[in-house]
């Protein structure tokens, strides 16, 4: 009657993991595609104010200006006054024009006339600094700006 004997050692069969690499690769490709390696090294604090009446920014025609107090690790060297950053270095307000036209020349030629300036300004900055920047932008005739904000709204209705 050995035919009906159960097999000895009824261990669970191992789960087939052959497709595991495929799954992982799929995830890998997804993240590879959506990843944007951050180009600019942040020298200023960037806690953006919140707003909810927002529009989307068109990436291909934008130039960024960062402003805020120097980040904590640069505090000792540069103090705590609000500063402007373009690309990956601090820019003086008077050198703004040069830095901006340089940044604009990196865009593709067809879109250089339609450039939008994205202002990423820390919420603790004074409006005065922003005012100086806007004045320079008007001189340069780059009049389309967008105040980049974080999603949400602190104001209770």
């Amino acid at each position: 009657m050995s035919k009906f004997n159960k097999k000895k050692g009824g261990e669970l069969p191992a789960v087939n993991t052959a497709s595991l690499p495929d799954i992982v690769f799929m995830l890998l490709f997804f993240f590879m595609v959506v990843t944007v390696l951050r180009k600019d090294n942040m020298l200023v604090q960037q806690k953006l104010p919140k707003a909810d009446q927002v529009e989307k920014l068109k990436k291909d025609r934008s130039v960024f200006i960062y402003a805020g107090k120097p980040s904590s690790r640069y505090k000792e060297k540069f103090g705590t006054e609000g500063k402007i950053q373009i690309g990956d270095k601090y820019t003086d307000i008077n050198a703004l024009e040069f830095a901006l036209s340089e940044a604009r020349s990196k865009l593709i030629p067809e879109l250089q006339g339609k450039v939008v300036v994205g202002l990423k300004v820390d919420e603790q900055t004074n409006v005065g600094l922003l005012q100086d920047v806007k004045e320079k932008l008007r001189d340069l005739n780059m009049v389309k700006i967008i105040y980049i904000t974080a999603p949400g709204n602190d104001v209770q209705q």
């Binding site: 595991l20 690499p21 529009e55 994205g118 919420e123 900055t125 409006v127 806007k134 005739n141």
Partner: protein
């Protein structure tokens, strides 16, 4: 003539390698989500032609260096700005605006065409408050535009606008654009910014 089968490569560590790469990309990923309040700066002009605007058609919002807000000569909390701006824009004092639902107060704005909102700020005003005020004022315009597009066309202005911007709009885009233009003309956004003054 022994045909030896080529030994199979052990692919067991493939998953580990892929995991390693996956974790690297997971950590470095910052999914960019840049959104913000768009503005157009006034072009540079040497001489500003003097414009005659009645005082009642201007809604002045002043933010001082302590981030206190004065709207239409009243000290106001940030929560009340939106409603105040809506009632100013929607007033329709001279009766030429047949879609306005406001109080028709003669002391307030004539019609949305003429109504102008001005934001004055101090150089030491914080950017956070400044953006909050801007946001509330844009919200006031959006509220009125939504109301009118709901009434005329049965859709929400802001929803359709963002759908077109992201390319998710289903239907005739050109016709929708024309409708949006029409709504914008009903409540044209006249938001000006006075230069920040130096604080004493």
């Amino acid at each position: 003539m022994g045909r030896r089968a080529t030994p199979e490569v052990n692919a067991g560590s493939m998953a580990d390698i892929a995991f390693l790469l996956l974790i690297f990309f997971l950590v470095t990923t910052t999914i960019e989500k840049d959104k913000g309040i768009a503005r157009q700066l006034p072009p540079k002009q040497d001489e500003q032609p003097p414009v005659d605007i009645k005082e009642k058609n201007i809604f002045v919002v002043t933010v001082n260096k302590e981030d206190q807000i004065l709207a239409d000569n009243e000290l106001m909390d940030i929560q009340d700005i939106r409603q105040a701006a809506i009632s100013f824009l929607d007033n329709g004092g001279d009766g030429s605006c047949d879609y306005c639902k406001g109080e028709k107060d003669i002391a307030s704005s004539d019609n949305p065409e003429k109504a102008i909102i001005t934001v004055k700020s101090d150089r030491e005003t914080s950017y956070k408050t400044y953006i909050q005020v801007q946001n509330e004022l844009v919200a006031a315009y959006n509220f009125l535009r939504n109301r009118e597009s709901e009434r005329l066309f049965g859709f929400e202005f802001t929803k359709v606008k963002s759908a077109i911007a992201t390319g998710d709009f289903k239907g005739n885009e050109e016709r929708a654009q024309a409708k949006l233009k029409e709504i914008q003309a009903l409540f044209p956004m006249k938001l000006s910014e006075a230069e920040a003054k130096k604080s004493q």
